[in-house]
């Protein structure tokens, strides 16, 4: 797959269809991959990488890249195409400057999941029929892929590219029976005290690094509300549990109705806080209350959070789930 992408990228660069290409650059380690822009074919040939660790969603970088002169090509996995459409809906991407290459994806590996299984010193990875062969400095290991995939990939919601100019590999289908709301339902069943304790346990680890905000394709305001010194949550280290709660509630709230559930927030969190559970709660709520809505499914959709109806609608005070004490 890596060579296929690389040759296609080289071809497009050399024949002048595009001026630059947004992809993944190899880092010091095989799992340490950085999204980057390649303009030089030689550089692309030498440093471009695509493997099971390339989880980064490249669509957000297009906000800056597509605003520049010339055409940029980008590799988008199925879930990334939803973010791309959503950003087009919000007029953040200049669509005419982008050449979208859709790429097939079966799931991306979380390096932390590998480490938890005691696999360290990773030097290479390849997938073979549902299992992963991992080369380490201690020898080769084989693990079932499903067990070490990132959470979002284990509960993959769609393998269908909702937008592309060209496709490498096959196009999949929307996964109807994914279990992504299971954990949200489990939390809803708990009592308020249990839920409070669960979230305190998770959110109290927050170090306010802002990685979740910076990586999120929906979170792309040029001037963020949290950069306001008067927001009360500007501090690097939260001074009080309230700040953690406030930051995460507002962060999730600001992307409600625009979040495509790409799972980047949870992937980048250095403290492994399951932030996607907050986003999924909003998705589950508006699906239940206002009808099914998939952010980024097509360009120009109106989100139920920004929309309203003059007919009967859910009343704020009637929303109560689980125990109250």
């Amino acid at each position: 797959m890596q060579n296929e992408l690389k040759w296609r990228g080289l071809e497009l660069l050399k024949n002048g269809t595009i001026d630059r290409i947004l992809g993944w650059r190899a880092g010091q380690f095989v799992y340490d991959i950085t999204p980057d822009v390649f303009t030089d074919p030689e550089d692309l040939e030498k440093n471009f990488v695509y493997n099971e660790f390339c989880g980064a969603n490249l669509s957000k970088y297009l906000i800056a890249e597509s605003a520049k002169e010339g055409k940029v090509a980008v590799f988008l996995k199925p879930c990334d195409t939803y973010s791309f459409n959503q950003l087009c809906t919000e007029h953040r991407i200049h669509r005419e400057n982008v050449y979208v290459i859709g790429i097939e994806c079966y799931g991306k590996v979380s390096v932390d999941a590998l480490r938890q299984r005691g696999i360290d010193g990773i030097t290479g990875i390849r997938s073979e029929m549902g299992s992963l062969k991992i080369d380490t400095i201690y020898g080769e290991e084989s693990v079932p892929a499903m067990e070490v995939y990132a959470e979002r990939c284990r509960n993959c919601k769609s393998k269908k590219h909702v937008v592309f100019d060209e496709l490498i590999g096959a196009d999949g289908e929307v996964v109807d029976d994914c279990d992504r709301f299971d954990m949200v339902e489990k939390l809803e069943q708990m009592s308020a005290q249990e839920r409070f304790e669960f979230w305190r346990g998770e959110l109290s680890r927050c170090i306010r690094c802002n990685a979740c905000r910076n990586v999120c394709p929906a979170c792309s305001c040029e001037k963020c509300v949290f950069d306001n010194p008067k927001s009360g949550v500007l501090n690097k280290a939260a001074a009080d549990s309230f700040e953690e709660n406030m930051f995460h509630i507002i962060r999730a709230y600001h992307v409600a109705g625009r979040c495509t559930d790409c799972g980047e927030c949870s992937r980048v969190c250095p403290e492994h806080i399951p932030l996607h559970l907050l986003n999924r709660k909003f998705i589950k709520d508006y699906n239940e209350l206002y009808g099914d809505f998939v952010a980024g499914e097509s360009v120009g959709q109106m989100s139920p959070v920004a929309d309203f109806t003059t007919d009967r609608d859910a009343e704020p005070s009637v929303v109560q789930k689980g125990g109250d004490q």
Binding site: L187, E188, A192, Q193, E194, R195, F196, E197, F198, W199, R200, V225, S231, G232, A239, D240, F242, E243, N245, M246, I249, I250, A252, Y253, A256, L278, K281, F282, D285, Y286, L289, Y290, P304, V305, D307, F308, T309, T310, D313, A314, E315, P316, S317, V319, Q320, K321, G322, D324, Q325
Partner: protein, 147 residues
């Protein structure tokens, strides 16, 4: 924190829209109807002026309950403001509930300018609910506590 339960009185913030609920509260006053003194009213031009951050900020500053009052759906002075409020607050309250903040601490009520008596009964009911729940401990900022 030393606090006698008998002395404890809840702090309640009521965001009232200028056109209906605030006038409703005014009508209650001119009719000599009394509502609990624990309720502190903040006047807003429209219920949809209330940013979710305002609600959180109220809790941070020591509120034990926050109630948002607006015109009845269909009666908004700005035509559609309260429809937006309805959706926003539904999602916000559901999220607060999901994080373990008791859902009885947050409420949206529609009170028109003619409903002075209703304003009083809504506030009486809300204050009674919050008094039963006790002080807000799950969304508090200790630095903002005075006692």
């Amino acid at each position: 924190m030393q606090m006698n339960d008998k002395e404890w009185k809840p702090k309640i913030i009521a965001f009232c829209c200028n056109w209906c609920s605030y006038s409703g509260a005014d009508l209650a006053g001119t009719n000599r109807l009394s509502y609990p003194a624990e309720v502190k009213i903040i006047r807003v031009p429209c219920s949809c002026r209330v940013n979710p951050m305002f609600i959180l900020r109220a809790f941070q500053q020591g509120a034990d309950g926050v109630i948002l009052c607006g015109c009845h759906p269909g009666d908004c002075h700005y035509s559609t403001g309260n429809y937006h409020t309805r959706r926003r607050m539904t999602l916000l309250f559901s999220m607060l509930n999901y994080l373990g903040v008791e859902s009885a601490r947050t409420r949206v009520e529609w009170v028109s300018a003619a409903e002075g008596a209703r304003f009083v009964s809504v506030m009486d009911g809300f204050v009674a609910d919050i008094t039963r729940l006790g002080p807000n401990r799950r969304l508090e900022d200790l630095r903002c506590k005075t006692n």
